[in-house]
């Protein structure tokens, strides 16, 4: 199938592949998916000797052309955010390329556009964070209306602090720590002030759920399954660090509350 396109520009293919891999990795895709996509795209050149090595922070890929030079590149991926829509869109482009339904130029343009795409507006994210604690509270079997309202208060904290945190370049660890500490403190103090009989623990648990490292855990598991032990452990450690930050934050919040006489 590959022989039908001998005129394929290898250099363009190479850069398109790199771009696709970079977007995938920085959007939180599993290592397996990134490597697989790179492999499939590089194979389009008709050259069998295509290799890639991907870790959570960098991509190394090489294309050994027996007739000309070997192409190798290394790309560091530093800023990562979870954007599953990008993963899905890049996947679609890669499929179209594999099926010869899209030209390299089109693919390059689309990928650039995906890279620039912003996703949902900030106010929508804040609204989500505002409501998520109540949703979790319901999921965990909470039925008390007063506690639900306190969940809204902690949700407000999560939403507001997100806006502040985006501006400051604080290390992720302290970011999570401060958010969790605020949640624990607010939940405790609101319970004491307004409704003595609500379940503070359940409110805190519901409110820290948006902070727990669900993505890192899931991705780590799937990476490990595919034999990517390096990234699996790296993401496992990432999950553990986030979990520690949240835990220490909750501890700090509760401790602060106990200091109040």
């Amino acid at each position: 199938m590959q022989e039908t396109k001998p005129s394929l520009d290898v250099k363009t293919l190479f850069s398109v592949t790199l771009l696709a891999g970079e977007i995938l990795l920085s959007s939180g895709a599993e290592i397996y998916r990134v490597e697989d996509t790179i492999h499939r795209l590089l194979r389009l050149s008709g050259i069998e000797a295509a290799e890639s090595f991907v870790t959570p922070t960098c991509i190394i890929m090489t294309l050994r052309d027996p007739d000309s030079d070997t192409l190798t590149t290394l790309r560091r991926v530093t800023d990562r955010e979870h954007n599953l829509a990008r993963v899905a869109r890049v996947n679609k482009v890669a499929r179209a390329l594999c099926d010869n339904k899209m030209s390299l130029e089109e693919a390059s343009g689309t990928l650039e556009e995906i890279k620039q795409s912003k996703g949902y507006p900030e106010w929508a994210m804040m609204l989500l964070l505002f409501f998520l604690p109540v949703c979790f509270y319901m999921l965990f079997g909470g039925q008390d209306i007063a506690s639900g309202l306190i969940c809204l208060v902690t949700g407000t904290w999560l939403a507001l602090i997100r806006k502040v945190m985006i501006r400051t370049s604080l290390v992720r660890f302290f970011h999570d720590l401060i958010r969790a500490a605020g949640v624990a403190f607010l939940a405790s103090i609101m319970t004491r002030l307004f409704s003595a009989d609500s379940n503070t623990n359940l409110i805190i648990i519901s409110s820290i759920m948006p902070l727990v490292p669900g993505v890192s855990i899931t991705t780590a598991i799937r990476d490990l399954l595919h034999g990517d032990y390096q990234s699996g452990t790296a993401r496992g450690v990432e999950a553990f660090i986030i979990a520690t930050a949240v835990a220490v934050g909750v501890g700090a919040g509760l401790f602060l509350f106990r200091m109040i006489p």
């Binding site: 409501f131 999921l139 598991i221 399954l225 909750v250």
Partner: protein, 147 residues
């Protein structure tokens, strides 16, 4: 019994909300919500309406993984799009909280107990994803021949 409806609504909202938080398009996020409802229903069923147990979490994660793979095949999107948001509500955040709380209350024995129970929950989720991934991986190799 009717209060369990609240739990199911919570299951929908948390899964759909998590999906939106990770920028999943609205239509697929609703699908995530649907999976969330079914999973929390199974969770309730296995745990007999009380708090989630390791077994009920395992069952729910298994259902989530199967449905995510099915949904991914149907709408032709990566499994991650469905799997991550739908597993999110079952991540043992409660266990994490109890570990810290016990430590603050100076009850290290309880903290150790909660640590191991949290590990059990995480292990149950991991095992469920492992199992379903392996099954579907086999099927894919037989059926598709991309490139």
């Amino acid at each position: 019994m009717d209060l369990h409806i609240l739990v199911l609504i919570g299951g929908f909202l948390t899964a759909a909300g998590a999906a939106l938080l990770f920028q999943v398009p609205v239509r697929q996020a609703m699908l995530c919500g649907g999976i969330g409802v079914l999973a929390s229903f199974l969770n309730l069923l296995v745990s007999r309406g009380s708090e989630a147990t390791v077994l009920s979490t395992f069952a729910a994660s298994l259902l989530v993984a199967v449905l995510s793979h099915a949904a991914a095949r149907i709408v032709k999107m990566p499994v991650t799009v469905f799997l991550i948001p739908c597993i999110f509500p079952f991540v043992p955040g409660a266990g994490m909280f109890h570990i810290v709380y016990s430590l603050i209350e100076s009850r290290p024995a309880d903290a150790t107990m909660y640590f191991f129970s949290t590990m059990e929950f995480a292990g149950a989720i991991a095992l469920a994803i492992f199992t379903v991934d392996t099954i579907f991986k086999k099927r894919v190799k037989v059926h598709t021949k991309c490139t």
